[in-house]
């Protein structure tokens, strides 16, 4: 649909991709997600008009302002259905969605499940800091029990959500986990997600230095922790194995937990349409509608 021919266009430079200077606190994990998104776009030669960046509300969700491209900063928790609208109606675009753990699993929890089951072809990266950053340290649905926040001053009491297990059981076809402290891995997961046909979900641990400092040290070798990749013999097409190995939350494992191929929402709708289009082939739109009106005579 784009009117610009892809004549030998050079990949965009970082300067061409960067928009506003991020407003995140120094040291915030979100910086590294942004940096690697730029890398991904450069590496894959995606130009400004070939993709869309969508986010909800939260510190992490301010993402689209920092990217020089068509972007949307939507409402809290509803980035996925919004992105679904663009992904279904404009299949020429690569759609990337970013957001926080509260956005994804609390207010947007049900959308997450349904987007996964519908297998909408888009990439969703949740920047999980186990806390509400933007609203200044309330308990998030991924906060571990005992985490002291402004809403659980004595320590969080509710069982946290397990993002990997939730995604797998909801029907996501690509489920991966990475962390902001391992750029190489983060980029690899983004690339794999982008290449996946269907709903590709990445949980990226992204530390909130302001309100949950050190949350993920146990997975960061520079802080004395261990970056554990999934065992080599892990079979990502084995749903039960993927579910079982997701049991541990932090530090947990990193890599592609689960990936299968299933027709996307785009595919199944195209299949429905194909049957109808056969019958309406060669007809102008008004002639198709005329058939309905003729029946109402």
């Amino acid at each position: 649909m784009s009117a610009i021919a892809d004549i030998e266009r050079k990949p965009l430079t970082k300067k061409e991709l960067a928009a506003d200077h991020p407003t995140w606190c120094p040291g915030c994990g979100d910086f590294s997600v942004l940096a690697l998104y730029f890398k991904l776009l450069q590496k894959r030669g995606l130009h400004h008009e070939k993709f869309a960046t969508v986010a909800g509300i939260g510190c992490s969700s301010r993402f689209p302002y920092f990217v020089q491209a068509h972007g949307t900063h939507y409402i809290h928790g509803r980035a996925l259905p919004y992105a679904t609208g663009i992904a279904l109606s404009r299949q020429d675009l690569d759609v990337f969605v970013f957001g926080g753990d509260g956005d994804a699993f609390s207010i947007g929890g049900n959308h997450f499940n349904h987007c996964a089951r519908k297998n909408v072809n888009l990439t969703y990266c949740v920047m999980d800091n186990n806390v509400y950053g933007l609203t200044k340290k309330q308990t998030s649905p991924t906060s571990p029990i005992g985490f002291k926040s402004k809403t659980d001053m004595w320590g969080a009491v509710d069982k946290p959500i397990n993002p990997m297990q939730q995604a797998i059981s909801a029907g996501a076809t690509f489920v991966a986990r990475t962390t902001h402290t391992n750029p190489k891995h983060l980029l690899a997961m983004m690339e794999a997600a982008m290449d996946h046909k269907g709903f590709a979900f990445i949980e990226c641990l992204s530390e909130c230095t302001e309100f949950y400092d050190g949350a993920f040290d146990s997975s960061n070798p520079r802080k004395g922790g261990e970056f554990r990749e999934l065992p080599e013999d892990h079979d990502p097409t084995d749903e039960n194995a993927a579910y079982a190995i997701s049991e541990e939350l932090v530090p947990g494992y990193f890599g592609v937990y689960y990936q299968i191929s299933r027709p996307t929402k785009q595919d199944v709708e195209a299949e429905v349409n194909a049957k109808f289009l056969e019958k309406t082939k060669g007809l102008e739109d008004w002639e198709i509608l005329q058939q309905n009106f003729d029946k109402m005579k």
């Binding site: 900063h73 259905p81 309406t280 739109d285």
Partner: protein
């Protein structure tokens, strides 16, 4: 049969034939009896016979069914409402008889099933009663033990005989209806129809024949409001929609789900209304206006997202098929109580466009108008219809689809530069560059719900919020100036002006006609554009001593309904007063007139 039968009599089967101008037939039974389909057949026949028609029905809100009626008014002249009173009541059961006898005109006819109805001897003196063993004869005609099946078609035969309707056309419609089913189904239906038609109406001693309707210059179609709106959305070029089921909106989403694939479009059933509105907004951002819709409770859920679309200035079509509220309220009854949520249901200052079609035909054209307003002004547009208009059938002229249907594909023409929220744009009217648009300057827009600068990036500047707030209302002010000037129905000057919106138009117009016949000076005015209001209303108001806003909603704490409050706030004119009711039923003409009289006597 409003007009007295003329002397033009012919003899057919020894029955006198009297010419009539119009007839109101009320069929009362249970919803399982297929009452709606008798009414549907009659309505379609009328459309094909160049007659005017309007129907009214009630549906029980439970699936297992229950008492239900279908009323149809057929006329060789103009039809404004489905009629206050019936010329003929067809009663299948005792409850149908007991509950609806009050709606029969003086000297009207009651056709009843002798197996189920015991007529009241007192009433037999007031109305012409005709008993017919409907259930029994149906079983006799079509055989089997199929208890009540086919009764409706038998009854249709009876009505066809009574009004000397075009049996051939009716048979054709019956055959069309069962097309695709085994042939025996059509045959059975036709047998039932013939049996009904052959029933000797000797006790009636006369049958009726409609006067020749005036010839029309185009073919007619018959549809209900939900269908007209659904097809209007397609004609407007909308190709993506998302929704969640709720009565009475579901019909529209089902229609779109069924039809959109023919155009390579898509309708998505979502997990909830918030997802639905979000998906539609996302698709609209993609460059082609998309649609979502619901009824009251679902509209409340969509509120935050609509507010975002106002802020981000995204075109969007939202349908609200109103029903009795609040909450689950009266899901299968009519009410006009969502005007406030449509106009003012946003958080913050969030002006949006609200339109209210006033007839079934208008539903079709309003859909197109709404889409074009949404595109031009880059704004959400809410269409308020209601249960009554959604479910009633009317005949109207075949739209000229070849001229009307429009292509609104995304425009991805590359641009040198683009400011999504350009403050220097005349009247604040801007449109977005859809994603996928190449922008030479390399500066790309963000659409956002945060207060923003002209590029869509966050701005907390007091001046920016001032200017952007003004931009968002200025463009709607410009729309208000461009709207067609409203016109009164009837003389521009007089004692009383009845103001209404949406489905009440017919009742108010018919009330006006009747009042004028009785020498009272009453005119009517329909407001189709609720927000912004069109210009020129004050001029119309100034021609009348009283302005009564008749609505199907509550007068509330101060006696003013929702449109009435808006008009009072807008014009500060104490002569604007409310006439309201909340019984879940459409306004009857005589009730309108009685309330006007009451109001005038209070003075």
């Amino acid at each position: 049969m409003s007009d007295n039968p003329t002397a033009d009599e012919a003899v057919s089967d020894n029955l006198k034939v009297s010419k009539i101008h119009e007839a109101v037939i009320r069929i009362a039974g249970n919803s399982q009896d297929g009452i709606q389909s008798i009414g549907g057949f009659l309505a379609r026949l009328a459309g094909r016979s160049e007659q005017e028609v309007m129907t009214f029905m009630t549906i029980p809100s439970t699936i297992s069914g229950g008492p239900s009626i279908f009323q149809v008014r057929l006329s060789s002249g103009e039809v404004l409402t489905s009629g206050d009173e019936a010329d003929v009541l067809m009663a299948f059961y005792q409850h149908s008889y007991d509950n609806h006898v009050d709606f029969v005109k003086k000297d009207g006819i009651i056709l009843y099933d002798t197996a189920h109805v015991e007529p009241d001897p007192e009433l037999e003196k007031r109305f012409r009663h005709i008993g017919c063993p409907i259930a029994e004869l149906t079983v006799e005609a079509i055989g089997g033990t199929a208890k009540d099946k086919g009764k409706n078609i038998f009854a249709l035969g009876l009505v066809a005989r009574m009004f000397d309707l075009d049996s051939e056309r009716l048979e054709g419609l019956i055959a069309e209806r069962f097309k695709g089913k085994p042939e025996s189904v059509t045959e059975t239906a036709l047998s039932a129809f013939h049996a009904g038609h052959a029933y000797p109406l000797t006790t009636l001693a006369e049958i009726y024949e409609f006067e020749e309707p005036k010839a029309r210059d185009c073919e007619q179609v018959v549809a209900n409001g939900n269908e007209a709106l659904g097809y209007g959305i397609l004609a407007a070029g909308v190709r993506f929609g998302a929704g969640y089921p709720i009565t009475p909106w579901s019909d529209i989403m089902e229609l779109l789900r069924r039809e959109l694939p023919k155009y390579d479009g898509m309708f998505v059933q979502c997990e909830d209304e918030i997802a639905a509105v979000s998906m539609a907004i996302g698709a609209s951002w993609g460059g082609r206006v998309a649609i979502t819709g619901s009824s009251g409770p679902g509209i409340a859920l969509k509120g935050e997202a609509i507010g975002w679309a106002v802020m981000a200035e995204i075109p969007l079509l939202v349908i609200d098929v109103q029903r009795g509220g609040p909450s689950t309220g009266m899901p299968t009854n009519v009410e006009q109580s969502d005007l406030n949520i449509a106009c003012f249901g946003g958080h913050g200052d969030s002006p949006r466009v609200v339109l209210a079609p006033s007839s079934v035909e208008d539903c079709f054209y309003t859909a197109i108008e709404a889409v074009n307003i949404a595109r031009k002004y880059s704004t959400p547009v809410i269409i308020l219809t209601d249960q009554a208009i959604a479910t009633r059938i009317e005949a109207f002229g075949m739209p000229k689809l070849k001229e009307i249907c429009q292509d609104i594909s995304p425009d991805l023409t590359p641009r040198d530069d683009h400011k999504p929220y350009d403050l220097s744009a005349p009247d604040g009217i801007t449109q977005h560059a859809a994603p996928g648009t190449f922008i030479k300057s390399g500066k790309y827009p963000v659409v956002t719900g945060l207060e923003h600068n002209e590029m869509g990036h966050p701005s907390g500047s007091p001046k920016m919020h001032l200017d952007m707030t003004a931009k968002r209302h200025n463009k709607l002010k410009a729309l208000g100036r461009d709207l067609p000037k409203p016109e009164a129905y009837g003389p521009d000057e007089g004692n009383v002006l009845l103001v209404g919106w949406g489905s009440t138009q017919g009742s108010l117009r018919e009330a006006t006609e009747q009042a004028r016949k009785d020498g009272d000076s009453i005119s009517a005015l329909t407001i189709r554009h609720i927000n912004p209001l069109p210009e020129g209303l004050e001029n119309i108001f100034s021609g009348f001593n009283h302005v009564f806003v008749v609505e199907n909603n509550d007068g509330g704490l101060y006696g003013y309904g929702q449109l009435c409050s808006l008009l009072r706030a807008r014009f500060c004119d104490p002569k604007i007063e409310g006439i309201n009711k909340t019984d879940g039923l459409t306004w009857r003409v005589k009730d309108v007139l009685a309330r006007v009289k009451e109001k005038l006597e209070e003075k």
